[in-house]
């Protein structure tokens, strides 16, 4: 369709406004992380740091709690991702391939788990995990994350499995391959992009999660990165902007890297889940 030049210009201006609104905050955060304390003290903040250096990052990393919390977050996110994939893949396969009675039940559960406010869940969770000695432990948080990341993982994986042509599996079974063999040799390789996208998404949601961690982890040595960052802010007044901004940038890096990878894939995954679900 032909577009008039005036409309074209207006479109570019509008896109620029959107991008400034969406990207400027992150830009400012990164710029702040490179500024010296003197620059924060000045009355007129400048957009770019005058003498950019990495001292805020080294300062932030010298805080014992921060490095420790990063390791905690990493451990929790990796364990959650692995478990979610192991447990969800068979379920997603069954949901996409079998017309079983469990299908509507599972989809109902996926929906309900989105609607319910977490406050209703977290109190009983706390009461269940306490006698099992799993409150205030990393395994406790991991199994909670696993169960609560599953709805979204299932939603995505279901779409990816449906996208694998059923005929391929039928051909394999005609050739005498067992169901398990078919899944491992035919379905899994085709699912790899979908599995990677789901894994990244699960990792990020565990890495970013705040509420369950806030309630379930009290031990300072076990706190995750978001908890430690939130505590930095809590001490308003003597808060040091530079190291805080640096730590925030570090916390965002994994998410940004992953999303740069999977942004296109995620869109199609969401949509196929929506259409086939």
């Amino acid at each position: 369709m032909r577009t008039r030049p005036a409309t074209r210009v207006a479109q570019y201006v509008a896109v620029c406004c959107y991008l400034v609104f969406l990207a400027f905050p992150l830009f400012w955060l990164i710029s702040s992380s490179l500024k010296s304390p003197q620059e924060f003290a000045s009355v007129t903040p400048s957009i770019l740091p005058k003498h950019p250096d990495l001292s805020n990052f080294t300062d932030a990393l010298e805080e014992q709690g921060l490095v420790r919390s990063m390791l905690n977050s990493l451990q929790i996110s990796v364990a959650t991702t692995v478990l979610v994939l192991i447990v969800s893949l068979p379920v997603a396969y069954a949901l996409a391939r079998f017309r079983s009675r469990l299908r509507p039940i599972t989809n109902g559960w996926i929906l309900v788990s989105q609607v319910f406010p977490v406050i209703l869940i977290v109190i009983p969770l706390f009461m269940i995990l306490r006698p099992l000695h799993l409150t205030n432990t990393i395994p406790g948080v991991v199994i909670v994350y696993m169960v609560w990341s599953m709805p979204f993982a299932l939603w995505m994986l279901q779409g990816y499995v449906s996208a694998v042509p059923r005929e391929l599996e039928e051909a394999a079974s005609v050739d005498g391959a067992s169901r398990v063999r078919t899944i491992v040799l035919i379905v899994m390789p085709l699912l790899r992009p979908g599995l990677i996208a789901t894994a990244m998404f699960t990792f990020i949601s565990a890495w970013n999660e705040f509420f369950f961690a806030l309630v379930l982890l009290q031990d300072p040595d076990l706190k995750t990165l978001p908890l430690v960052l939130a505590r930095f802010v809590g001490a308003e007044g003597q808060v040091q902007f530079g190291p805080l901004a640096a730590a925030s940038v570090l916390a965002t890096v994994p998410s940004l890297v992953f999303f740069a990878f999977l942004q296109r894939r995620l869109t199609s995954g969401l949509l196929s889940g929506a259409v086939k679900g």
């Binding site: 896109v15 905050p25 609607v115 406010p117 406050i119 109190i123 960052l229 995620l266 969401l270």
Partner: protein, 310 residues
């Protein structure tokens, strides 16, 4: 996928009524098994227990008696003005964020759906807020809106829109609007991406036919784009509404409900009730009220949408 294939699939489905063949059911159960125990123990059971907890006087602590008190908590909530305030704030927050987010996202999605240059770059940049941890988003906006060091105040003063720095997050009149802007910022990418996917699914020939008939761009938008997008719009706005109503981390770190409870969303209120004051039963009762409100709200919304479709 062609409509023929869809129809074939639908009739295929009709061939196996009532939950499928027994063999398939058995196989499915086998595949469900590893997931079943954790989901039952840590999701289904806590959900039911959480609902029931609202009807008890459960408190934090190891050896506290818990009694079933029927609607006692709800009776107390009825006379709790702070609770009603919190719900009012929650509704203002949910509706403003959802509606403004949708309008802004639709605009961006329409722009990204045209053949602009740098569209790919724009699309990736537009996803930034999505990728960030909510806690970091909150910290970042606190830096941006800071009364003395923040660029927002600096810009406003340079434009002579204000002569004194505004403490956006600390002032009674600006706290809620400021938090709403951050909420829009966070939720826009998801909504944009979903709407964009919907836009790309619209058949181009509809527009070509309309252009031949001489329909203006505005007219095409109203009579083709919006109706074609309806299901996507209903789905994403419903989800946004639920997510916004239940949101916690962002505002907890931005304002912790302050100043003076002006941004005390229902989730924050319930959280304080449970983990600051130890009133588990009361907090669960608030959660129950939130569930009922969400369901009633969605029920109304979806019914109206579906009716206008019929």
């Amino acid at each position: 996928m062609s409509t023929d294939a869809l129809r074939a699939r639908a009739s295929n489905r009709r061939d196996r009524p009532g939950g499928g063949r027994p063999k398939q059911n058995r196989e499915a159960i086998f595949l469900f098994l590893p997931a079943l125990l954790p989901v039952l123990l840590l999701s289904v059971y806590p959900l039911l227990r959480g609902i029931a907890l609202g009807f008890t006087d459960a408190r934090a602590g190891l050896n506290v008696d818990t009694n079933f008190i029927w609607f006692g908590n709800f009776g107390k909530l009825l006379h709790n003005d702070l609770f009603w305030d919190s719900f009012r704030i929650g509704l203002i927050w949910t509706l403003s964020v959802t509606i403004l987010q949708f309008v802004a996202a639709l605009g961006l999605a329409l722009l990204l759906n045209t053949n602009l240059k740098f569209r790919g770059v724009a699309r990736t940049l537009a996803l930034i807020p999505w990728a960030m941890p909510p806690v970091v988003v909150a910290i970042m906006w606190r830096l941006l809106l800071h009364p003395t060091n923040g660029p927002v105040n600096e810009i406003l003063q340079n434009l002579h829109l204000t002569d004194h720095p505004i403490n956006f997050l600390g002032d009674f009149s600006t706290a809620l609007p400021a938090v709403i802007v951050v909420g829009i910022w966070v939720g826009m990418p998801m909504t944009t991406v979903t709407l964009l996917a919907g836009l790309q699914g619209i058949d181009r020939s509809l527009y070509e036919a309309a252009a031949v008939d001489g329909a203006s761009a505005w007219h095409q938008f109203w009579s083709i784009t919006l109706p074609q997008l309806r299901t996507v719009i209903v789905a994403i706005t419903s989800l946004d509404m639920i997510w916004n109503f239940n949101s916690f981390g962002l505002v907890y770190v931005l304002t912790a409900g302050g100043p003076g409870g002006k941004t005390m969303l229902p989730m924050l209120f319930a959280y304080n009730e449970a983990f600051r004051y130890g009133n588990f039963g009361m907090a669960a009762a608030m959660g129950d009220v939130m569930v009922v409100i969400i369901i009633v709200f969605l029920g109304f919304y979806l019914r109206n949408r579906l009716r206008s479709e019929a």
